[in-house]
């Protein structure tokens, strides 16, 4: 028979089924009618002829069915039947079905969320910028005191990069400032604006939704007004998304501009150092004009370099080649970088442009936490898939008898496989739907967590996870379906022992894998427990820090001492005003960020270990310790006498004091700051409880606190504001109060402190790892329970015989427990090295103090074994209760 003929028949059977059925009915009716007429011609009365004709034909329905079967291809006809059958089966064994669905939903939901996080931070380009491997960021680096940090890049340096025609097709930079934006019509705001070099938006491939973008050459627009491109958000907020906005005048920080376009939705520029959205983009030449009204030394800032630089590589240029090319330019920057007199060496690097590194400062901890989340999630996914597999396999094997009955009743193998596959597919779909619902919840949570830079749930991340999990369920549904139907009818109907050696083996391997994998996952739990044991661990302080709002202030600045005294007075006045707000309990003044310095003890003074050491220096006010609920346990706190010009004072952490001077009182001892930038020798005036400060383990450095009032930062100060209320809730009133006290002062940043954000993330990671660990243990327990009860059920007859022969019930259950214990031992054997590694890696991140990794890993292994044995004990106990008589009779 030709392929054409077969295809035509199949097509007709599938798609013209109704017509074929009608044809057949007509044909049969004609047949019976002919027979009746034939009989009537022989003289039989009509009604009798009618009856005889039907008798001669036989059961019409039977032949119709037979013909339908003959046509084959009933893919949709039987489908509804399969679905009904599956639903009936689910209703009969709801627990297993629900567990499978929930597991699949969790697997899909959680993994999509983590992949979305990874995608947002690690791979996705900044919002509004198309994905393009040629887009890179040129980042200035500076190395001093052994630490590499990022460094802003000057306009001159950008020009140097732009000259590298062979490497970069285009180079552009952006400088950010916070300025009042006053449109001719509509509502203004003080918002973030970016001053960009020519071609900035072109380099990024950003498109306008309205009008045009900044021209490639940044010549002044008509009449000396600066061309201004609005952000989509600002356009909607201030102008109600009116298209008439093009050509309207707008004043930004004293620079008069003309609106020429609106950037694509979501685009927020590159390198924005402040929280919140960018409102507008202006050409770089207007930078000095715009900022000089607020700050006389704006030009100085500009020359120093405030630019974040993006570039487009020429086709065929690799990152490595570009990196090699920029190295020379970056190291030359040292000479031009007057402010960084303490800089040891500068350089530049070219990195792929991603949303995660588009802003200037990405907390370091974020990446390690996200990587950890990724690993944890992958492990949980692996365990979920294996548990689902085990449940599906067990279910199918348990139904051996039912399948045997159906085979004996004439069901074809294909039919049974199809039915089992329909069940798997339905479970998978229900799990998928649950997973999507979870994804929706996570997306909403993510939007609440980071409203100004939401985590995007890309379709590919959700799709990939869903496909992976559902594919697993489907594939593992296929194997037992094929296997269960392979056995002959008689074999299935006989006792079920020995049918599924493959499944038993697979089950055992999966259990071993689960036990091995759940151990490293439980390390998170162990880390949390260790923190709980350490009553004043860093997390206690992180909880406090979570209540702390940090407001960064841009000071008028100036090189002279008198300028500094004026700035300090201003900051102190603002701090007092903010302190007067009702919800605020503590306000401390600090220099934003920390310095990493090398110190050594003063020569000639006795010390336990006189060598030099690295420490984080925080420039803080006297209220800083109280804000952290910490106490100065020796000596004194900073006082009003520690001002500009008085002898330089420091307070050290208690851990450092013990390290340097043992039990002796360090008050009056001296520390020498090796950095040229600092004042040289400092007198220790007090010791603060390092544990209470909770910062000694943040990155393993000891802490030194200097007096802000003595050495105020020339350009910036930060207010730490602790309140009973949620920091976000009081941010508005704090901002208003600062505006009232000092209308001209710029507030570049307001938000939860970076330290607390990092702590928060770590805390969440530890919490998540713990939850994942417990979930993994629970899953492994379910799996073991399934395996043991499956094997008990499979061997009911053996057990019954043994009991009938006089074996004691305890012997029987012991046998099953021993088998489970063997699996545990193998699992622990594989899991122990992984979990020792995990303890080493994780405890350094989360735990309050060092633990012996080997002991911790063994304790975890013991805990896992205990839970596993409990899971095995329940069905094993059931085995001992088998009634020999009824079991043997049933067989």
């Amino acid at each position: 028979m030709s392929a054409y003929h077969r295809t035509r028949l199949w097509f007709r059977a599938v798609f013209l089924r109704g017509r074929q059925d009608r044809d057949l009915a007509r044909e049969i009716a004609t047949h019976i009618e002919m027979e009746r007429e034939h009989l009537m011609r022989q003289g039989i009365p009509r009604t009798e002829a009618e009856r005889l004709a039907h008798v001669a034909f036989g059961g019409v329905q039977r032949y119709v069915e037979a013909v339908r079967d003959m046509r084959g291809a009933r893919p949709f006809g039987g489908f509804t039947q399969d679905v009904r059958y599956a639903l009936r089966y689910f209703a009969r064994a709801p627990l297993v079905s629900i567990v499978i669905i929930v597991l699949l939903a969790i697997g899909i939901g959680v993994n999509s969320a983590v992949f979305a996080l990874l995608d947002t931070f690690a791979f996705a380009p900044p919002a509004g910028v198309p994905r393009d491997p040629a887009l890179v960021r040129i980042r200035g680096t500076v190395v001093y005191d052994g630490a590499t940090r990022s460094r802003p890049i000057s306009a001159d340096e950008v020009r140097d990069y732009a000259k590298m025609n062979g490497i970069f097709a285009a180079v552009a930079g952006a400088a950010s400032a916070r300025l009042p934006i006053v449109p001719a019509s509509g509502e203004g705001e003080t918002g973030q604006v970016q001053f960009v070099t020519s071609g900035f938006m072109g380099v990024l491939g950003v498109r306008p939704v309205l009008g045009s973008l900044l021209p490639a050459d940044d010549d002044r627009a008509s009449g000396g007004a600066a061309a201004v491109v609005l952000s989509y958000r600002f356009w909607r907020v201030a102008f109600g998304a009116s298209p008439a906005v093009i050509g309207q005048p707008i004043d930004i920080g004293g620079v008069s501009g003309v609106i020429i376009g609106v950037a694509t939705q979501g685009f927020d520029g590159v390198g924005a150092p402040y929280s919140g959205w960018t409102s507008a983009w202006l050409p770089i030449w207007s930078y000095t004009g715009a900022t000089s009204t607020r700050k006389k030394n704006a030009a100085h800032f500009f020359d120093d370099g405030v630019l974040n630089v993006v570039a487009r590589l020429t086709p065929g240029t690799s990152l490595a080649r570009a990196n090699a090319a920029v190295r020379g330019v970056g190291s030359a920057a040292l000479q031009t970088n007057q402010r960084d007199s303490h800089t040891r060496s500068t350089g530049s690097e070219v990195i792929a442009l991603r949303a995660g590194n588009a802003t200037r400062d990405v907390p370091k901890g974020q990446y390690s936490a996200i990587a950890l989340l990724g690993i944890v999630t992958f492990l949980v996914l692996a365990i979920i898939c294996s548990t689902v597999t085990m449940l599906i396999v067990s279910r199918a094997v348990m139904r051996q008898r039912e399948i045997g009955v159906r085979l004996s009743l004439g069901a074809t193998r294909a039919r049974l496989v199809r039915q089992l596959m329909t069940e798997s597919a339905m479970l998978a779909l229900a799990g998928g739907a649950g997973g999507m619902a979870l994804v929706a919840v996570f997306a909403r949570l993510a939007a609440m967590w980071r409203p100004d830079n939401p985590i995007t749930f890309g379709t590919w991340t959700i799709g990939a996870t869903a496909l992976f999990t559902l594919g697993t369920a489907f594939l593992f549904g296929l194997s037992p379906a094929l296997h269960a139907t392979r056995s002959s009818v008689s074999q299935s109907l006989k006792e079920s022992t020995g049918i599924s050696t493959w499944h038993t083996l697979a089950h055992r391997q999966l259990i071993v894998a689960q036990i091995a994998l759940s151990q490293p996952l439980l390390v998170g739990v162990a880390a949390l427990i260790s923190n709980a044991i350490e009553s004043r661990g860093p997390d206690v302080n992180a909880a406090e820090a979570a209540q702390t709002l940090v407001v960064q202030l841009e000071l008028p600045g100036g090189g002279k001492d008198s300028d500094r005294v004026r700035d300090v007075a201003l900051v102190e006045r603002i701090a007092a005003d903010v302190r007067a707000l009702p919800a605020v309990s503590h306000v401390a003044i600090t220099e934003p960020g920390e310095h990493r310095n090398k110190y050594h003890t003063a020569p000639g003074e006795p010390a336990v270990s006189p060598q030099s050491f690295a420490a984080s220096t925080h420039s803080v006010s006297d209220t800083y310790f109280a804000l952290h609920d910490a106490h100065v346990i020796r000596g004194r706190n900073f006082a009003n006498s520690d001002v500009v010009g008085s002898p330089l004072a420091v307070i050290v952490g208690s851990d450092l004091a013990t390290q340097l001077w043992g039990a002796a009182d360090p008050s009056g001892r001296h520390l020498v700051n090796e950095c040229e930038c600092a004042g040289g020798t400092y007198t220790v005036i007090g010791v603060v409880d390092a544990r209470e400060m909770g910062s000694s383990t943040v990155d393993g450095r000891v802490q030194v606190y200097s007096a802000f009032l003595q050495e105020p930062s020339p350009w910036y100060a930060a207010l730490w504001i602790r309140s009973a209320a949620n920091p976000d809730a009081i941010a508005q009133s704090v901002r208003a109060r600062i505006r009232a006290s000092a209308p001209d002062l710029a507030i570049p940043r307001i938000g939860v402190s970076a330290v607390s954000a990092e702590h928060w993330l770590r805390q969440r990671s530890a919490l998540y790892a713990s939850a994942a660990g417990l979930a993994a243990l629970f899953l492994a327990a379910i799996g073991l329970y399934a395996v043991v009860s499956f094997s008990v059920r499979q061997r009911t007859r053996d057990i019954a015989v043994r009991l009938a022969m006089g074996a004691r019930p305890a012997q029987v259950s012991r046998q099953f427990l021993t088998n489970a214990l063997k699996l545990c031992a193998i699992g622990c054997g594989f899991g122990l090295p992984i979990s020792i590694f995990a303890v080493r890696a994780l405890f350094s991140m989360f735990a309050a103090r060092e633990f012996n990794a080997f002991i911790v890993a063994n304790v975890i292994a013991a805990a896992v074994t205990l839970v596993a044995l409990l899971a095995a004990w329940l069905p094993a106990r059931g085995a001992a209760r088998v009634d020999p008589m009824s079991a043997l009779r049933a067989e």
């Binding site: 047949h31 034939h38 036989g58 039977r62 037979a66 013909v67």
Partner: protein, 86 residues
Amino acid sequence: MHGWGISQRIQQLSADALKVGQGSLYPALYRLEKRGYVKSEWRTTENNREAKYYALSAAGRRALGAEMKDWRHFAAAVELVLRSEA
């Protein structure tokens, strides 16, 4: 020839020895059609009634030849055996 005609024909030709259950003819016809041995079409009978007519296709004719040859071999073999028994 239509379905009823075929059943009548078998009955007549076999002198009523082969009485095919009339209904069972149809699964057989459909099987032959599926294999491509017969073709079918709706036509009007001499009594002016619509009926589905079946005819052997070329493949059917070939298959029939082969089947007839096999049957004759088989029948001859059985005949030989029976004759020697007698």
